[in-house]
Amino acid sequence: MCLLPQPQNEHIELHRKRHGQRLDHQERKRKKESREAHERSHKARKMIGLKAKLYHKQRHSEKIQMKKTLKMHEQRKTKQKNDDKTPEGAVPAYLLDREGQSRAKILSNMIKQKRKEKAGKWEVPLPKVRAQGETEVLKVIRTGKRQKKAWKRMVTKVCFVGDNFTRKPPKYERFIRPMGLRFKKAHVTHPELKATFCLPILGVKKNPSSPLYTTLGVITKGTVVEVNVSELGLVTQGGKVIWGKYAQVTNNPENDGCINAVLLV
């Protein structure tokens, strides 16, 4: 047992205060800093592989920031002609009548576009989606003593089954919806609020690929789903609380493991 003192609290700073730095401290510091540029460039040249890709990406963004700050500093020092001193709307004389024309053009274009879309069609964020074929969505399950019968199908995409869903007896069920692929919640984004909520699904309204999928409850990209929005606290003009709204799925749920949707307002 020796009575050696233990280093306590700010012993490093205390030592520096009492004894100062090494005699060559400033020189070493200066040299180390000046060597940094060389070492960085050596590293950037010699690195290979994935590490290099990540490093170069990070370094590139750093350099962009540096250039921006430099440019900012330069702008403060120099004076520049402000090109848009002229207020919005002010137009030179030789363009005066043409302006009216362009506005008219815009209006007629809008009308034409509206006419193009047929009446009664919803305005959905994803109007066109790739149609999913049956071989993609349903997988053939072979049954029977000699595995020859091929009338059962298993759904390979994410699906939704209601609360009161019970399977048919296994011998008779034609469409198998595996439990691992059943989802109850969706991440719904409100397009105006730009906020995302995790809301329970009430049901599948329409699957654009086939009505069979709608009845089965298969959810693919572009499917319109009804979600429970009571969490958002929306109220109608009459004073009634809205608790169900439609949302359209925007991702491939079987690839991402989650359902992302956009609320249809």
Binding site: M1, L3, L4, P5, Q6, P7, Q8, N9, E10, H11, L14, K17, L50, K51, K139, T156, P178, G180, L181, N252, E254, N255, D256, G257, C258
Partner: protein, 617 residues
């Protein structure tokens, strides 16, 4: 009791580093190649392995953080309180709770995605699922940025806390700022606490150790406390309060008699009365410091009354000066004695004492007669003791001389030499004399030897010994001259004839008649040397008839046939040796040995193929 050592907590990485480390580890430690045409179960297993590996890494690292950091409920209340004061208990618990939640979330994510991957029917789908899983785990970690930063700072501060054992003998110093607590601890222990003229130089607890009565004592220095209510106290003062509240120690309340700290004696007394409740059940001592500036006897009547009152209450007041070291030892001894007595009292009242007391027995020898037998103390020890008590000036050390003489000082150790002839002290001793190295001939007992030489008997014995040595050397030389044979064969190589053996043994006195059935005779008969045992009469020596026998005599051996001169013979031998070198190096028996010892050396068949060939990887 375990020493509270928080230095072993592992570094907590920042969130970005954490993610980078784990992802790069996944990329390096799991297989990297998978193709579309592999069987689906193999593709699935490949991607599931990556997801599980990442989850495992995160889980392990986070669990380690959670176990490393001390739980505030499990450690001693002193440390729990101290950590609350320094780091805020709620924030600390929240941060650790967040880490725990993150760990559980990551586990859940991994479970979900592994379950989904079982339904993956193509490489693309499995790959996307793996990407989603890893991305989610990393997002969870990104959200923990604040908690991880906070925990890293806590760890750094924790590792520098002094290790105070809350259960051992402790002396606690408290008082206003700038009264001289840190100077006191510097004098009594080896702790090097900073002492400066401004208030609040000491900003946290410091611990020093000292010895007294063969026991180890802790001395704890606290930051100064100001006189305001508990709610208004800041972190620094709260540390002192925590130490006062939780450590079972002797309290030394330090007061500044000269009022140089900026507070009057009344104010110091006020503070003393305010924190009096914290001194309950602890031996108390008042240290009146800075008495070299002003003694108590020089104070005004009211101030002297304060000290008189305190002494009347039973608290000892001791005047000290950390500058001149006057009274420091008295304070130390008195405080230690008081604390020891207090602790022993406490232990006696407890139950554990009886276990020990039952086993202790002090045996005192019974007196056999009336003769007084006091302890024997040698004269030197007695004188030493007296000087120690009187505190006589020690003898002048070299250092004192050096300080005195300044630049003129020369270290002269020869003046302390104890020689028979004191004049010879400064004599120069040569290193080499008459070709001999004097250091080789140094003998510490040389004086004794010199005296021995003068003895007559020894002279005669020496003379005789010398003669014997000479004679012996001569004999050795003569016998060496006689040896003309050079190196000889050992006796056992030569064959001993039966009759020589019997003759020699007979000369020595052994009876060697009738030894035909003896062992050596039987063996001799059985041996192959037919020509020796039975000497047949032969006619003229018969010439060997077969050709091979004749030619074997006349044919030169193969390494000499066809060789013209010794130079060529040498060269031929050299060629032969060169050719054998390679085989010898590889440990082969000969040209025909083609055995391969290691058909599949490990270094050629393990590891990833980076930029090597089949000869090396």
């Amino acid at each position: 009791m375990a020493l509270y050592n928080f230095k072993k907590i592992m570094v907590v990485p920042t969130s970005k580093e954490f993610i980078d480390i784990t992802l790069s580890k996944t990329q390096r430690k799991t297989p990297t190649v998978v193709h579309k045409h592999y069987q689906i179960h193999r593709i699935r297993h490949f991607y599931m392995r990556k997801v599980k590996f990442t989850q495992q890494n995160y889980h392990d690292r986070l669990s380690q953080i959670l176990t490393d950091f001390p739980k505030l409920d499990d450690i001693h209340p002193f440390y729990a309180d101290l950590m609350n004061v320094l780091y805020d208990k709620d924030h600390y618990k929240l941060a650790l709770g967040q880490i725990n939640i993150a760990k559980n979330l990551i586990d859940n994510v991994s479970k979900d995605y592994v379950r989904l991957m079982k339904y993956g029917d193509s490489l693309y789908r499995c790959k996307q699922l793996k990407r989603a899983a890893l991305g989610r785990m990393c997002t969870i970690m990104k959200r923990q940025k604040q908690s991880l930063e906070y925990l890293e700072q806590v760890r750094q501060h924790l590792s520098r806390l002094p290790t105070i054992d809350p259960n051992t003998r402790t002396l606690l110093l408290c008082g206003y700022p700038n009264v001289g607590k840190s100077s006191f601890i510097n004098k009594v222990t080896r702790a090097d606490v900073e002492v400066q003229p401004y208030a609040f130089t000491t900003k946290s607890l410091f611990v020093g150790h000292m010895d007294y009565k063969y026991l180890r004592w802790q001395v704890v220095d606290t930051p100064g406390i100001l006189d305001h209510p508990l709610e208004e106290r800041n972190t620094i003062e709260m540390q002192a309060i925590t130490a006062l509240a939780h450590l079972r120690s002797a309290v030394l309340y330090v007061m500044d008699v000269s009022e140089q700290c900026g507070q009057t004696l009344e104010q110091q007394l006020e503070l003393f009365n305010n924190i009096r409740p914290l001194f309950a059940n602890k031996p108390l001592l008042i240290v009146a410091n800075k008495c070299d500036v002003k003694k108590i006897s020089e104070l005004t009547e009211e101030d002297q009354k304060i000290f008189a009152d305190l002494t009347a209450e039973g608290i000892s007041v001791i005047e000290t000066s950390t500058l001149t070291e006057e009274g420091v030892m008295t304070v130390k001894t008195e405080a230690c004695d008081k604390l020891l007595a207090h602790r022993v009292d406490g232990k006696m009242k407890g139950k554990k004492v009886h276990d020990v007391l039952n086993r202790l027995h002090l045996a005192v020898p019974a007196k056999r007669d009336e003769k007084a037998r006091p302890p024997f103390i040698p004269e030197g020890a007695r004188i030493g003791r007296k000087t120690m008590e009187v505190d006589a000036p020690k003898r002048k050390t070299e250092r004192d001389l050096e300080v005195e003489m300044g630049d003129d000082y020369i270290l002269d150790l020869q003046k302390y030499w104890d020689l028979m002839n004191q004049d010879e002290k400064y004599d120069v001793i040569p290193e080499i004399w008459e070709g001999h190295n004097i250091a080789d001939y140094i003998d510490p007992d040389i004086m004794k030897e010199e005296l021995k030489v003068k003895d007559e008997e020894m002279q005669e014995i020496r003379q005789l010994a010398k003669q014997i040595r000479e004679k012996r050397k001569l004999k050795i030389v003569c016998s060496k001259d006689k040896d003309v044979h050079g190196p000889r064969l050992p006796r056992t190589v030569k064959k001993v004839e039966r009759k020589t053996l019997e003759k020699e043994m007979g000369d020595l006195g052994l009876d060697m008649t009738g030894k035909d059935d003896s062992h050596y005779a039987v063996n001799a008969r059985r041996s192959r040397s037919v020509g020796v045992a039975k000497k047949r009469k032969r006619e003229a020596s018969v010439v060997p008839t077969s050709r091979t026998r004749s030619q074997s005599a006349s044919r030169p051996p193969r390494d000499q046939s066809g060789v013209r001169d010794p130079k060529m013979a040498k060269q031929a031998k050299k060629l032969m040796k060169n050719q054998q070198k390679d085989m010898n190096r590889q440990g082969k028996k000969g040209e025909a040995d083609r055995h391969v010892f290691d058909l599949k050396p490990k270094h050629l068949f393990s590891g990833k193929r980076k930029s090597g060939t089949n000869d090396h990887r």
